[in-house]
């Protein structure tokens, strides 16, 4: 566990014991662990900032990746030894890349990485791209990694690669919600032109065509309309949503006194299309009946698990109507 390149003979290990009375979760430490922790803790206790201390922290975080004090200790060693030496800090990032690849679920790595970049005199986004790519490639919805990427984009103020990056992951899995959210994050931060917004609407629609029952691009479509178009849906977008609900709105439904629909279910390819239409129709008094039918359809056939919620929506609509 310890590299013999460094000499630790002068360190008197601080023993760890684990047999106190009433102790819960007593761990049967193995000898290597006791030895390593004994030395690491002794060095931390004396606040030693040295190459060999840095080396010890390698071993400790390998064994106990969640040990927050050691990450902090490591940072202090790095700052003391390397200061603002770009080359040395790059080496630290190299080590961190390697550690990250072996411990993908650890989340301390990302805040540690942010601290190192903030210490670095010449941080580079380019330097971050390979590790970001390989981590997301490996676990395409890893929340911490996507968050770190967004932090980087803002830190380096560089949005140029992001639409393409998100697009790659959407192409790979059209259901990847993190990639869709990334796309929206980019749009909201760089003030797109009307033309660019139009292009994004077209893009979202193309992706919906591939898999109509996919909440992520529907959220994206709705988001674009709310953020950039004041919630106004064009007739084309309404037509687009209608193309997934078959002849639902052409049927004449009779709604019985219990509020349920009596007929057989028309074929609907996407409950999200129906919901979007309900939202659009709710805004126009002459279309209220259609909005109600849509909610009844969701209750009865297309999304019955959320019956309560759709009824609640229906209730709000009827309350509005009463006004």
């Amino acid at each position: 566990m310890l590299d013999f390149k460094y000499d630790f003979d002068d360190i008197i290990p601080l023993p760890i014991s684990s047999d106190a009375e009433g102790e819960l979760c007593q761990i049967m430490y193995d000898d290597d662990y006791k030895h390593l922790m004994g030395i690491a803790r002794a060095m931390l206790e004396s606040k030693e900032l040295s190459e060999r201390a840095l080396h010890i922290t390698n071993s400790v975080v390998e064994v106990v990746p969640a040990f927050y004090t050691i990450w902090n200790y490591r940072y202090n060693i790095v700052r003391f030894l390397y200061g603002e030496n770009a080359e040395a800090l790059d080496k630290e990032l190299d080590w961190l890349d390697e550690f990250t690849l072996n411990n993908p679920k650890n989340y301390q790595i990302w805040s540690y990485r942010q601290a190192i970049l903030q210490l670095h005199p010449k941080p580079s986004f380019k330097r971050e791209l390979p590790i970001l790519h390989s981590m997301i490639d490996d676990d395409t919805k890893n929340y911490h990694v996507w968050s770190y990427r967004r932090w980087c984009v803002l830190f380096f103020k560089d949005f140029t690669k992001e639409l393409a990056f998100a697009g790659d992951f959407i192409r790979r899995d059209v259901y990847n919600n993190s990639a869709w959210c990334h796309r929206m994050f980019v749009l909201k931060n760089y003030h797109p032109s009307a033309q660019e917004i139009e292009a994004e609407i077209t893009y979202a629609k193309e992706m919906i065509e591939k898999a109509p029952q996919n909440i992520s691009p529907w959220n994206y479509l709705r988001g674009i309309h709310e953020v950039f178009l004041s919630g106004n849906y064009s007739p084309e977008t309404v037509e687009f949503a209608l193309s997934f609900v078959g002849d639902f709105f052409e049927r004449k439904f009779s709604i019985n006194h219990e509020g349920s629909l009596c007929e057989e279910a028309p074929v609907v390819e996407s409950s999200f299309a129906l919901e979007l239409l309900a939202t659009v129709y709710s805004k126009r008094r002459e279309h209220l009946q259609k909005a109600k039918e849509a909610y009844h359809g969701l209750i009865a056939w297309y999304d019955p698990i959320r019956k309560n919620f759709w009824e609640y929506r229906l209730g709000l609509l009827e309350k509005d109507e009463g006004k």
């Binding site: 760890i16 979760c25 990746p65 959320r306």
Partner: protein
């Protein structure tokens, strides 16, 4: 509790994690107080007389408490493990402090909670962890210079929640009392900056059920005017976002067969984000959030039935007890506690925002008033 809940097996499962653990648990050393909390809270929910059963551990838990002088200010909190702690470098942090307090409440150790610790200095530790200007919190101080916050720590809504829960347990029942230690307005701004367009809370616009539960629990604990940071429209979207996290195998939902993160068998469970598999812990985080918002809307709770079925039929382990994340993994203490807590929440016996069984919290607070 439902007949289908294997109470005895779950108790045994949780008991085992409080006993002697093999060396592979070494990596969880910094989270030991969390594991203990999951085992104690879980057993308390299942009706075990926890104070009696673990009476002998009361004083051992007390040894996790540390006080130290920080440029004239006394600050205090709890360390993850007394044998790992150091004198020159205090290793107290916010999560361990909250878990230790939960554990003491589970053990009815009021003597220590009211006489043994200095509540004011615990609140001061919380205060030192808040980042001025940003409103959020880190979880610990720097190892070399205790007067500054750790520069390597993350600082997200989880630590905000933990900070507020600690202050509440330490006697700050209102924002007026909290203002003595933290910048409440700054914290509210931070929470507001996490509102997502879809509803829900998350980082950089990606809503997440865990962060959503943290944000809503903070507002619930602080109460009153704090809710005004959220528009009625956002609250209504958040309700929608939350109910949409319940995975369904009915209607159009079953058309998602080409979605590699969709499983018909997850029906009734909750996912943490859009297009993810259901997971035991997100049942708790979503239900807690919905219970909080339900007070404003009276939406009803029919989602309980399917959620309960999911937990009992899919993620409960029938052989060794415990709950797993999903229907494939082995059970673990975290998902076991959260699964049991979700069922208690459904039965109306759990205070979600404070993460304690209602009776325990009530008893603690009653003691507080006296």
């Amino acid at each position: 509790m439902s007949d289908k809940l294997h109470v005895k097996k779950h108790i045994k499962y949780l008991e085992r994690h409080l006993a002697l653990l093999p060396s592979k648990y070494q990596e969880h050393e910094p989270n030991k107080l969390a594991i203990i909390c999951y085992a104690l809270v879980g057993q308390a929910c299942l009706g075990v007389d926890v104070p009696k059963k673990y009476e002998e551990s009361k004083s051992w838990l007390e040894t996790h408490y540390r006080e130290f002088n920080l440029n004239g200010d006394l600050v205090s909190g709890f360390v993850s493990c007394p044998t790992m702690d150091l004198t020159a470098v205090p290793t107290i942090n916010l999560p361990n402090t909250l878990f230790a307090l939960y554990n003491m409440i589970c053990l009815d150790n009021y003597e220590f909670l009211f006489e043994g610790i200095d509540r004011d200095s615990i609140c001061r530790f919380v205060s030192k962890c808040q980042i001025p200007g940003r409103g959020t919190f880190v979880s610990c101080l720097d190892s070399m210079d205790n007067s500054i916050r750790s520069p390597t720590d993350s600082s997200d809504l989880r630590y905000c929640y933990i900070a507020v829960a600690i202050l509440n347990l330490m006697g700050c029942q209102t924002t007026v009392q909290m203002r003595k230690y933290i910048d409440v307005d700054n914290l509210l701004e931070f929470i507001k900056s996490h509102c997502c367009m879809t509803g829900g809370f998350g980082q950089y616009g990606e809503a997440h059920a865990g962060y959503t539960s943290c944000a809503l629990s903070i507002l619930d604990i602080m109460g009153g005017d704090c809710w005004q940071i959220l528009s009625p429209d956002f609250v209504s979207r958040t309700i929608e976002w939350l109910v949409m996290r319940q995975v369904s195998n009915q209607g159009c939902m079953k058309l998602m067969v080409n979605n590699e993160n969709y499983d018909l068998a997850d029906n009734g469970g909750f996912q943490g984000r859009e297009n993810k598999f259901a997971d035991t812990c997100y049942v708790f985080w979503c239900l807690n959030s919905l219970e909080i918002l339900n007070r404003f809307t009276k939406l009803g709770t029919t989602y309980h039935i399917d959620a309960l079925n999911y937990l009992l039929e899919n993620t409960q382990n029938d052989v060794i007890g415990g709950f797993a994340k999903n229907d494939e993994d082995d059970p673990d203490p975290y998902h076991t506690c959260l699964g049991i807590a979700a069922i208690s929440l459904i039965n109306g016996n759990f205070n979600g925002p404070m993460f304690l069984p209602t009776t325990l919290l009530y008893k603690y607070r009653t003691h507080y008033v006296q």
